[in-house]
Symmetry: C2
Subunit: 172 residues, 2 copies
């Protein structure tokens, strides 16, 4: 783990930069795929994975990988901050500045983070008992990020998107 | 696209926060999987995808999705900054502060970014001609992020990892 403050600060910034680049490339890959540019989409996704490796190396040097319980608490804490502080303020400010697109995107995020916080809190309880969580299939709304499990709803309760707009995640 | 400066600044920060959370959850998912906690790994990956949806909504509200050519130039520019400014400074500072882990992780990133910049520049040329790039299989070193195509090297030229440590990306 790094010891000096300035090196720590730089690695934090590098972790942020790699995370933003990774995300941007995944977004651009999806856009390219929509236009039928499959080879370009594949290149963007491959490079996004390289940025993942870079971010992971910085994250580990920062000492941020802990026990399963600690990793769940770190995840839960981030969601808690977004629910109680970050998104209410950003959403309120977007409303105040009459920016409907930003009101929408911050509202969508806030609603999903509330669910995420609960999922991490419950999983942390299991981890304290030394157990894995129950196996579930998760469903994510591609429009707003609403997160649920077992089945996709007929209509997304947050954004109104149809069942077909959900992507499922299960253990292969 | 948002118009007001403060809303823009907040969305930039939210994009950064979502990108970092997404990345953290992918890292924790990999750690959970290594410990045989497959259900937890699946949950972390599903939530990471919800953060991707949030980040994409913010990114679009910021007006950052452009034409294919513009998206490639945005990607190339980011790499160029990392090659010429960010990583040389961070690597030099880590060396100056005698932080070997940070010297290593910034060196690994710098070497891969040089390759990425060239890939984006070449792809941009094709996009200018209205074409997709040639179909290739890409290979990413899981230790350092070194990026190559057609075949994985016997030994990674940047970190020395063996061929087996490479992950491949091709169009399904
Ligand atoms: Fe990188
Ligand atoms: Fe979340
Ligand atoms: Fe939704
Ligand atoms: Fe989020
Ligand atoms: Fe890169
Ligand atoms: Fe390598």
């Amino acid at each position: 783990m790094v010891k000096r403050d300035m090196t720590r600060q730089f690695l934090e910034e590098a972790y942020c930069g790699e995370s933003k680049a990774h995300m941007k490339y995944l977004i651009f890959a999806d856009e390219a795929e929509k236009k039928g540019l499959d080879n370009l989409a594949n290149m963007w996704r491959a490079i996004a994975h390289a940025e993942y490796v870079h971010a992971k190396n910085h994250f580990k040097a920062l000492g941020y990988v802990g026990s399963t319980e600690e990793n769940l608490e770190s995840s839960r804490e981030g969601e808690d901050f977004e629910i109680k502080e970050m998104y209410p303020v950003y959403n309120n400010s977007a409303d105040f500045q009459e920016e409907p697109e930003a009101v929408r995107s911050t509202h969508f995020a806030l609603e999903a983070e509330k669910i995420h916080e609960g999922m991490y809190a419950e999983a942390k309880q299991k981890a304290t008992e030394g157990k894995d969580i129950e196996g579930k299939t998760y469903f994510i709304c591609e429009v707003c990020g609403y997160t649920t499990w077992d089945a996709a709803p007929e209509k997304c309760p947050v954004c109104g998107a149809k069942k077909e707009m959900f992507t499922s995640f299960s253990n292969k």
